[in-house]
C-alpha cells in the first residue's frame, strides 16, 4: 500500500517537472504594446488628452526603432509624443529618460524616432484637441516598430470632443473692466460696452455695504435695483437668467483637487424657469449658471478668487451654444 503511494507521488513530480521544463511560448518573443488614457473629464477644444503608450520586446529579439500615433483628426500644433520614457522612482516621482529625438507632427501623425538602444519604453502622448474636432469623435492608433521588422499597433477611442468653449482667469474690476459678454467670455470697460451694448450680458460690481451681504455681484443690466452707484452705458438691455451654485468646483475651471467636470450634457439640463437675473454675494469657489437673454448661450461662471483691495474678481468660464 505504502509503495503504491510512493509511486503516485513520484509520478506527480515527473509530470510537474516535465511541465515546468517545457519551452516557453514563442509569443513572448514578439514586440508587444499597451496603452492607457491618463486624462479624465470632457475633451475640450484647446485642452490635452493624455495617453501613456508602452512597448517592449525581449532584448535578444532586437530594439525599438520608432513609435507613432495617428489621430483620426489632426491635433493642434502643440500635439506631441514624449521622447522620454518615464519610470517612477522610490519617492513616487516620475523620472523621464530620453530615448529618442523630439516628436515630429506630419498631418495627423506624430512620430518619435528612437536614438537609444532600448527594448522597452513608455511614451506619453499629448493630443491638443483642435477646433476641427469640436463636437466630433476622434480615434487614435498607436504603433511601434522594432529593429527586427516587427510592428504592433493599439487603437484607442473613439472619444467625443465637446462642443463647449472654455476661458480661464478673466479678471473683472469694479467700475473698470466690469461689463461681461457671454458671447466673448470677456469683461469690457464702459467705452467698449457702449460701442457694442447688445453683447453685454452682465455687470460686475463690488459693494461692501454694511448690514447686508452684497459684496461681489454679477447683475444683469436690467436689474437696476441691484446696481447701486452704477451708471450704465446707453443701450444695455439684456436680462440674463442666473442660477447660483456653491462648491461646484469644475476641475478644468478651478484647477483644484476635486474630480468634478462640467460637460456638454449639463448645460441643457439646467432649469432656468423663474431664475433671477442677478447673483449677489459671490465668493471664491462659488459660481453661477447663466443663460443669455436670447437663449443662444448657456454658461457656467466659476469664481476663482476675489480681492477686496482691488475690488476685483477672477472667473473662469465654460460656455455652451444652445442654438
Amino acid at each position: 500500500m505504502q509503495l503504491k503511494y510512493y509511486n503516485i507521488i513520484l509520478l506527480v513530480f515527473f509530470v510537474l517537472s516535465f511541465s515546468a521544463c517545457k519551452k516557453s511560448d514563442d509569443t513572448n518573443l514578439v514586440l508587444k504594446n499597451d496603452c492607457i488614457k491618463r486624462t479624465l473629464g470632457p475633451n475640450v477644444v484647446g485642452l490635452n488628452i493624455e495617453f501613456a503608450y508602452a512597448m517592449a520586446l525581449p532584448k535578444s529579439a532586437g530594439k525599438i526603432v520608432s513609435a507613432q500615433v495617428e489621430a483620426s483628426i489632426a491635433g493642434a500644433p502643440s500635439t506631441y509624443l514624449e521622447n522620454r520614457s518615464f519610470y517612477t522612482n522610490p519617492s513616487g516621482v516620475d523620472v523621464g529618460i530620453a530615448v529618442g529625438s523630439a516628436s515630429v507632427n506630419t498631418d495627423n501623425k506624430t512620430v518619435v524616432t528612437f536614438t537609444k538602444d532600448t527594448c522597452a519604453a513608455t511614451l506619453r502622448y499629448f493630443y491638443t484637441v483642435p477646433e476641427a474636432a469640436r463636437g466630433k469623435s476622434v480615434t487614435f492608433t498607436f504603433s511601434a516598430t522594432a529593429s527586427n521588422g516587427e510592428t504592433v499597433s493599439y487603437t484607442m477611442g473613439p472619444y467625443t470632443c465637446t462642443k463647449m468653449d472654455m476661458k480661464l482667469d478673466q479678471v473683472a474690476v469694479d467700475n473698470k473692466a466690469c461689463y461681461f459678454s457671454v458671447a466673448d467670455m470677456a469683461f469690457y470697460d464702459a467705452a467698449t460696452a457702449a460701442s457694442n451694448p447688445g453683447k453685454i450680458d452682465l455687470v460686475y460690481l463690488y459693494r461692501p455695504i454694511t448690514g447686508i451681504n452684497f459684496n461681489y455681484a454679477l447683475v444683469s443690466p436690467t436689474a437696476t435695483d441691484y446696481l447701486p452707484g452704477v451708471t450704465l452705458p446707453a443701450g444695455l438691455t439684456n436680462s440674463t437668467k442666473m442660477v447660483k451654485t456653491w462648491n461646484l468646483n469644475d476641475f478644468n475651471l478651478a484647477r483644484l483637487q476635486y474630480g468634478v467636470y462640467i460637460d456638454d450634457a449639463d448645460f441643457p439640463a439646467i432649469d432656468f424657469t423663474n431664475a433671477p437675473n442677478y447673483a449677489l454675494n459671490l465668493k471664491a469657489q462659488a459660481g453661477t449658471w447663466v443663460e443669455t437673454a436670447d437663449g443662444k448661450y448657456r454658461a457656467y461662471i466659476y469664481v476663482n478668487s476675489v480681492a477686496a483691495a482691488t475690488s476685483s474678481m477672477t472667473v473662469s468660464i465654460k460656455r455652451y451654444q444652445m442654438k
Binding site: 455695504i209 448690514g211 452684497f214 442660477v243 456653491w246 423663474n274 433671477p276
Partner: protein, 136 residues
C-alpha cells in the same frame, strides 16, 4: 429524552405563533407608521437658496402657540427659488409634502403647511412669514 425534545419544539412553536400574532402598528397612505404620539409641532425651520446655502439672517422664530414661523432672509434673496426644510416632532409629518423649490415671492399670501401628529389625530397649520432684510 424524546419527551424533552417534543416539549421544546412545542414551546418554540407556541412562542413563534404568539410573536407572529402580535398586532403591528398601522401605516398611513404614505407608508409611515401611525403611532400613539399626539405631539404636533415644528421644532426647527431652515430656508436654503438655489445654491443650497442658507438665506436666513438669523434662526427662524417658531411660535408653536400661534403656529407661525417668522424668517428674515438676506437682502437680494431670490424668493422664487427657495428650499424650505422643516424639522418636526417625532412621528409627525408635513402636508403638503415639500418636493422641490418653493416660491415665496408673494409676501402678501404667506405659505402654509400642516403638521400632522404621529397618531394622525392632531393637525396644526403653520404659516411661514418671510421678511426680506431691508437695504440700509
Amino acid at each position: 429524552m424524546k419527551k424533552y425534545i417534543i416539549t421544546l419544539i412545542s414551546l418554540f412553536f407556541i412562542t413563534f405563533a404568539w410573536v407572529r400574532c402580535s398586532k403591528d402598528l398601522p401605516v398611513d397612505s404614505d407608508g409611515l407608521l401611525i403611532t400613539t404620539r399626539a405631539q404636533c409641532y415644528v421644532s426647527n425651520f431652515e430656508l436654503l437658496g438655489a445654491d443650497f446655502l442658507t438665506v436666513r439672517t438669523a434662526a427662524a422664530v417658531i411660535d408653536t402657540t400661534a403656529q407661525t414661523v417668522n424668517c428674515t432672509v438676506f437682502y437680494g434673496t431670490d424668493l422664487k427659488n427657495l428650499y424650505p426644510q422643516f424639522s418636526l416632532v417625532t412621528d409627525a409629518k408635513l402636508d403638503p409634502k415639500i418636493v422641490g423649490k418653493t416660491d415665496f415671492s408673494d409676501l402678501t399670501h404667506p405659505k402654509q403647511w400642516t403638521v400632522i401628529s404621529g397618531n394622525r389625530k392632531v393637525k396644526k397649520t403653520y404659516t411661514v412669514y418671510i421678511t426680506v432684510q431691508p437695504k440700509p
